[in-house]
Symmetry: C2
Amino acid sequence: MNKRVTIKDIAKMANASVAAVSMSLNNRPGIGDEKRRKIIEIAKKTGYQPSLVAKALVNKRSYLIGLIIKDISDHFFAELAKGVEDTAKKYGYSTILCTTDGNSKTQEDYFDILCSRGVDGIIISTVVAEDSQIAFLIDEKIPFVCINRIPLIPSLKKKAEYIIMDNYSAGYKGIEHLWKLGHDKIAIITGSLNASNARDSLKGSKAALKKSGIKIPKRYIKEGTYSYREACLICERLLKSKNPPTAVFAHDDNMALGAREAILRSGLAIPKDIALMGIDNIKTGALAGIELTTISQKKYEMGAMGVKILVNRIEERVPHMVEKIVLDAELIIRNTCGYQMHGYRR
Amino acid sequence: MNKRVTIKDIAKMANASVAAVSMSLNNRPGIGDEKRRKIIEIAKKTGYQPSLVAKALVNKRSYLIGLIIKDISDHFFAELAKGVEDTAKKYGYSTILCTTDGNSKTQEDYFDILCSRGVDGIIISTVVAEDSQIAFLIDEKIPFVCINRIPLIPSLKKKAEYIIMDNYSAGYKGIEHLWKLGHDKIAIITGSLNASNARDSLKGSKAALKKSGIKIPKRYIKEGTYSYREACLICERLLKSKNPPTAVFAHDDNMALGAREAILRSGLAIPKDIALMGIDNIKTGALAGIELTTISQKKYEMGAMGVKILVNRIEERVPHMVEKIVLDAELIIRNTCGYQMHGYRR
DNA sequence: AATATATACTGAAACGTTTCAGTATATTTA
DNA sequence: TAAATATACTGAAACGTTTCAGTATATATT
């Protein structure tokens, strides 16, 4: 670090006290116009930039927020991160990027680091979000908001703020769509079932299955880990089995794309021979030649709203009440399920 | 922020001086085994976490690095960011994410903020990287490394560390590949020509054109801004013109994808009717049904190497010399140029 | 035994801010 | 005109660390 000009230097130059400089620069009252003007001028001329670290130390406000996600190269998280960073910037906060790669230990380390760094708040959107870690945050009284997942333990859930999609309804709508298109041999690749969102989606799908009177064998439901490769493998095995499904509903677009690879490799055509559906609505899915039918997740908006809530919480501008936001699940019909070919059959 | 346990509290409990606690915890010599043990034990028991902001203030080392990029939802930058964050984490640094959206003012603001925050170093990989801002960093003596772009002014270029792909060769190889496949009506969509990488690629392409004796009209070369939409529009116009190209070489995969949309919408088949080629090798390009022929950019590796260089610089473990790394451009042949159909024709 | 040296430990200053309790001066009020 | 009040300004403490100069005690050297 360079020798930067400090408040003391300015005080000397303006022959004023450091207090006067501080007050002038933060336009607090109690300093005469003449002196204030002079101080501000000197500050400008010398290119003075206040040390945010010193400020953080005394004010106990760092204007830093931590963003904990699984993987920034995953389109879902990248869009989310964009919403977070854009909004944080708007409110005068900087964003510390923390990726865990789904590793619980890494995540725990990051919680410690973020606390040590005195972040003002945290946005959490990971698959593995141990409830114990959430409890830690509540304990340390660090504001946080969960995006796209909620604590499993009810007592924690009550205290946590979150924004989620209506995952139940997402899972439900997907099956409903496939059913209306005439499918009844539907395979499901779920997310990691240790997280609330994946569980809810599965519940929704099961409910829809029941509602439409579809019975599927147990082996049609497979737990994935949001990995492209793994979903590809799962789908491959499914297709090779004696009684293969005629539709696969992956509870995440990345996995749907993985399944897509397996389907295409096996020589089947989408949607002619088999229907494919995802959840998330990532950019790639919209590309010509892919045109994945999916359920929209408002990724950017979730990130943006998350920060808004967080900042309200931090600055306590709003009388505090715990926000719990559930966004609507919206079906995005494209080409992978056959709606364009023949419309709904029932 | 919560009332956290500080070094003072521990000193009191262990009845030692704060100095003793500090020295014990940082295993500096000068403290007896017995006392040290006791202090460490108390620290552990109380869950003491040092305040990184206080440390930063006295040590003038924040263990923070700034990452300045255009847009985290762009796959290129996301991969880069992943390399950066992973590596930073490994070295004990945290990453502040700064996206500029190509806005020079935003970028300048971020430079100021990062300085105020006392970051130890900066990784820069933006399109608009004004040389004046680079000069500012050199002036402030903040270590930085440029990724995928270099300062235009030679005197700055000399002082800056950077990692770039051999953009010239990338531009060259693309044209060469297309020429070998028999194309001579090749359109080029370049990046923003105010940045070094785009200029170099264009130079390379022009050189290859000359070498192979291809003459293309001026209107075949269009400056893009790395935007999908814009590239789509540019390509659309190109296709509608009287003498449309038989190949388009976008100097960035996103733009290639944009061009792809225009091509497909116009009813042309890739690669049967027209060849398409990009630069970057983003994940999406590898998907079945897209299979974009491209030139590989080692995005993750560039990020990782960038941090490595930066940390060496910060910690001055290595006798200082300015690193300038140029990575090889590697042609990735997939399906959009017709190599699989008929191989090289000349 | 006297001196030199090593070891264990402490108090206080420093990092760059903000804020609080005071002080001095100017202005208003009665 | 005296008292009350408002305004301008300052010194010092505080935030949570590290480090430096000392001090006290123990050990080694002659």
